[in-house]
């Protein structure tokens, strides 16, 4: 009897913890709203309607989820290998830059152009991730510090190139738009969902298969779970670190590309980087809610995508500045970091026999 109950609890427990963290984050968000005189019920009502109110709204939510699941993979594959790769942000800027370069400056036949631009953006993202990986391998520089420095360097580099070399003549606030041949097809008129969502989901599934089926994937998980055992088993830690960073960079590069060649209507990068900024950091919360499992990350991305999409309606209807969604995301991360929370709550529940 005892045993049959324990097997499902292995899946159930992380799910419960994730759900609990989500609820805590939303409650804390409501408190923050009430504190400054907003109506949380009106706000959350608008948020839900904006995110799931109809097919067009849901398509928009899915569109918001695309970059989030990819930057989520960046962080998740890092954690799987025992690394805190918070460089998705910068790798994504560079990926977006690569998408503009390949999509606007090179002429190719239709389908080949889309594929080439996507791959080029992914490769640039991966290239940008190699810096912190090498610093970690050679000198032991902690990736939290090096990736953030690379993020800021990428920020100014991308902004510089976007403003001075790729700006659209007459419209200095954005870069030139990518050619029609480099754009993913829009799936539903009125929403910004494009076929790149299939590429993103397939990418996540491939990473999942890589982790569960291949030797390299197993070594990666082993290093993250137990570095001593990994060393004893002859796992080459340096190679695993490099692999993890490169996969993360590919994923973040694809996330950057998704905002340029996979999202109407601008098909370009803003000079302020306004249409990509913050998506890398959002991915951290997505990865943690999805328990760093690539398939879980897809689901978590849809949830955070719904918050971000619905957040705009919340701002419009209830006047709550949509940046609050970011704060809620942070609180969810903190709640997820405390494993004792669930034990504590269970103890309280048991005490009151609920």
């Amino acid at each position: 009897m005892e045993k049959t109950l324990k097997v499902p609890s292995k899946i159930f427990q992380p799910l419960l913890h994730s759900a609990l963290a989500l609820v805590l984050g939303l409650i804390a968000g409501a408190i923050l709203m009430a504190l400054y005189g907003y109506d949380p019920f009106l706000a959350y009502g608008a948020l839900v309607r904006g995110a799931f109110g109809g097919p067009a709204e849901f398509a928009e939510t899915l569109s918001f989820a695309i970059p989030l699941m990819l930057t989520g993979i960046t962080f998740a594959i890092g954690v799987k290998a025992g690394l805190f790769n918070i460089g998705a942000e910068g790798q994504m800027y560079i990926g977006a830059l690569g998408a503009v370069l390949a999509g606007a400056c090179i002429k190719l036949p239709p389908i080949i152009h889309v594929a080439f631009t996507t791959l080029f953006a992914m490769l640039l993202g991966a290239l940008w991730s190699i810096g912190p990986a090498l610093l970690k391998i050679w000198r032991g520089v902690h990736e939290v510090i090096s990736t953030i420095m690379f993020n800021w360097i990428a920020f100014y580099l991308t902004m510089y190139l976007a403003l001075y070399y790729l700006a659209e003549p007459g419209r200095a606030e954005k870069t030139v738009s990518v050619l029609k041949t480099a754009r993913y097809a829009v799936l539903m008129p009125g929403a910004s969902l494009t076929t790149i969502i299939f590429v993103a989901i397939i990418f996540c599934v491939i990473i999942h298969l890589f982790l569960i089926l291949t030797k390299a994937g197993y070594e990666l998980k082993l290093l993250g779970a137990n570095p001593d055992a990994a060393r004893y088993a002859g796992v080459d830690a340096k190679r695993v670190i490099l692999t993890s960073f490169i996969i993360g960079g590919l994923s973040a590069g694809l996330a950057g590309a998704s905002q340029i060649i996979g999202r109407p209507p601008t098909w370009a990068l803003y000079g302020t980087l306004g249409n990509v900024i913050g998506l890398g950091f959002d991915g951290i919360g997505v990865a943690l809610i999805g328990r760093n499992n690539p398939l879980g990350v897809i689901i978590a991305a849809i949830f955070i995508g719904a918050l971000k999409n619905g957040g705009r309606y919340m701002e419009y209807t209830a006047g709550v500045y949509s940046e609050l969604v970011g704060a809620i995301n942070g609180l969810i991360i903190i709640a997820l970091a405390v494993p004792e929370a669930i034990v504590l709550i269970r103890r309280v529940l048991r005490r009151y026999k609920i």
Binding site: I145, I148, M149, G285, E323, L336, P339, E340
Partner: protein, 334 residues
């Protein structure tokens, strides 16, 4: 051990000599060396405060990478507190703002400490959570309180003026930071409390056996780290920029982490590194505003200088740094 530390200081002195040379070259290029030094000292202050506080926190075994978020939140809180005091007609409203920032920082440190010590939280994740929270919360807070997105300039009366000394404009907080550096160094290496802090990070079991509460020590250092970071956060708008934008911290929390990691968690050494990074930032600002030079070098590339310097310095200095054995590991009594 002693000679190893001496060698580190020797390296730092070498770097400072290099900086003096840069100062001299800068003068040849038409940059004002006094302005450069002033900018460097301003940029040093928040970095040094956060780096010193957090190095002691890490010595005790906690690892808070949420410094960036604390900077951001306390910058907003500092301006908010200063304006409240100003509206209430209190004198020295800027100083009240600084204290407010310090208190909010201490509160975040307390929360971090409790989550890490009693909640056995994954400290790196909590730190990331603090950062993500701050990036969302601060713009929301600014919009809710000041009804304008992303930027706020408080009235001039709430700002803290520099010390009334000749030749150089230097903030009282900068002087306080320099004194604190020495005091924290002495506290860590010459007092029983310092010994307990070191033990909490190295051998918490031994400390526990000796009858000292590991949890109290760690929460104390966490509060100290939060408070000093909070003072640094409030320093930015009130003593330095004279206003707040939603990305005011600009990676400084992580540069502060780079300081303490390069310094092997020695507070005084961390302060020297803060000066080096502050110098890089000051150099960037001075280049960006000096006529004749700012036209020659692209603005965006100049702004990269602090981050590239940080990467370079960490890479050179990190070497074979030893970190406390129990760093970022929750301690449980058997």
């Amino acid at each position: 051990m002693k000679t190893a530390i001496f060698k580190q200081y020797f390296k730092v002195i070498l770097v400072l000599l290099v900086l003096a040379t840069i100062l001299f070259i800068a003068k040849l290029f038409g940059l004002n060396p006094v302005a450069l030094l002033e900018a460097a000292l301003l940029a040093m202050t928040p970095l040094a405060l956060a780096a010193m506080g957090e190095s002691i926190n890490q010595k005790a075994g906690l690892c808070n990478i949420g410094l960036e978020g604390i900077f951001l939140i306390t910058a907003a809180a500092g301006v908010f507190g200063a304006e409240l005091a100003h509206e209430a007609g209190l004198p020295y409203s800027g100083v009240v703002g600084l204290l407010f920032g310090l208190l909010v920082g201490a509160l975040i440190g307390l929360i971090f400490g409790v989550l890490s010590v009693y909640g056995r939280a994954d400290q790196v994740i909590v730190g990331i959570g603090i950062n993500v929270f701050a990036v969302g919360f601060v713009p929301y807070f600014m919009m809710a309180v000041w009804h304008f997105p992303g930027i706020h300039i408080p009235p001039k009366e709430v700002l803290v003026p520099p010390l009334p000394v000749p030749i150089i404009r230097i903030s009282g907080i900068t002087v306080l930071t320099l004194i604190l550096g020495v005091l924290l160094h002495l506290m860590l290496h010459k007092t029983p409390l310092g010994l307990r802090i070191l033990a909490a990070g190295e051998t918490p079991e031994a400390l526990d056996v000796a009858g000292v509460r590991v949890d109290y020590i760690r929460i104390l250092t966490s509060i100290l780290s939060g408070a000093l970071t909070g003072l640094g956060g409030a320093f930015m708008p009130l003593c330095w920029f004279g206003g707040i934008v939603k990305e005011i911290s600009a990676g400084r929390g992580f540069i502060a982490l780079a300081c303490l990691v390069s310094a092997g968690l020695e507070p005084l050494l961390a302060m020297s590194f803060a000066f080096i990074f502050g110098f890089a930032e000051g150099l960037a600002y001075t280049i960006a505003v000096t006529p004749g030079i700012k036209e020659a070098v692209p603005y965006h590339l100049v702004l990269m200088i602090p981050y590239i310097t940080t990467l370079a310095v960490v890479t050179i200095f990190i070497g074979k740094r030893r970190f406390p054995r129990a760093l970022a590991t929750p301690y449980t009594r058997e």
